[in-house]
């Protein structure tokens, strides 16, 4: 056993403020932070559902039809509706924070935050419209 050289029987009591586990429910701004962090569960959760759909696709027409049937259950639709709210919250908060992660300079001047965030939102709408159009067409 290793001897701790700092240890004395007369150890001072350190001041350690104890944080309650649910510290973040007290204030809306803190709750919003945790809510934003929890969007990642829905992002990964949907990635998993999507992966399972692709797996069913690879297993053949019957397996794929069964998977689509499962997606039609009221519970699945309800869960997807909740998840949609969370993933959209992820997108909105992500694009609003983009200017902080990426300081763009054009001609020596810093591109304003609002422009960077705005371009992200435009890209989001463009991609969404594009994928929707592909689905309608295909």
């Amino acid at each position: 056993m290793r001897v701790n050289p700092q240890h004395t029987p007369y150890h001072p009591r350190w001041h350690r403020p104890s944080m309650p586990i649910f510290w973040w429910v007290r204030r809306w701004i803190h709750a919003r932070f945790i809510l934003r962090e929890l969007t990642s569960i829905f992002v990964a959760g949907y990635a998993l559902v999507y992966l399972l759909q692709l797996r069913a696709l690879g297993m053949g027409p019957e397996a794929y039809a069964r998977f689509l049937e499962m997606l039609r259950s009221p519970l699945a639709i309800m869960l997807h509706a909740v998840a949609l709210g969370f993933v959209m919250y992820h997108s909105i908060t992500w694009f609003n924070l983009a200017p902080r992660a990426l300081a763009l300079r054009v001609g020596g001047k810093r591109v304003p935050d609002r422009v960077i965030a705005g371009l992200n939102f435009v890209a989001w709408i463009g991609i969404s419209a594009g994928l929707l159009w592909m689905t309608l067409k295909g």
Binding site: W24, I34, A44, A47, L48, L68
Partner: protein
């Protein structure tokens, strides 16, 4: 986790966050709500298989799914540290989070190669 690995995990987190922010809401809406409710007609099996089987589509699907997992892993890890005050379980949490994202990535690679 070693301090030197942090920028690597962060870059996966950042790339995943961006891909997920741009592509997941519409994908979820179409596949999980609009098609199941009949607002949009479901494309036929063969055409979906053909589209998803295209090499570019496979690459896109792999990145979207895998990086979404790593995005979760990194963010959830810090949520557990900060939100639940589990800082003392640092290493264990990191292994569980990045480990499950890696398992998911392998599963995604396997599924997409065999598509």
């Amino acid at each position: 986790m070693k301090k030197t690995l942090e920028p690597f995990w962060w870059s996966l987190f950042g790339a995943g966050g961006t891909l997920a922010a741009l592509f997941i809401p519409i994908t979820l809406f179409v596949n999980g709500i609009a098609i199941p409710l009949g607002w949009l007609g479901a494309p036929g099996y063969e055409s979906v298989l053909q589209l998803a089987g295209h090499p570019l589509a496979r690459g896109y699907l792999f990145l979207l799914i895998s990086l979404s997992f790593y995005h979760w892993a990194h963010r959830f890890r810090f949520t557990l540290y900060d939100g639940l005050q589990l800082k003392h379980l640092n290493f264990l949490i990191a292994v569980i989070c990045y480990g499950s994202a890696t398992v998911g990535t392998i599963a995604a690679g396997y599924t997409l190669i065999n598509l």
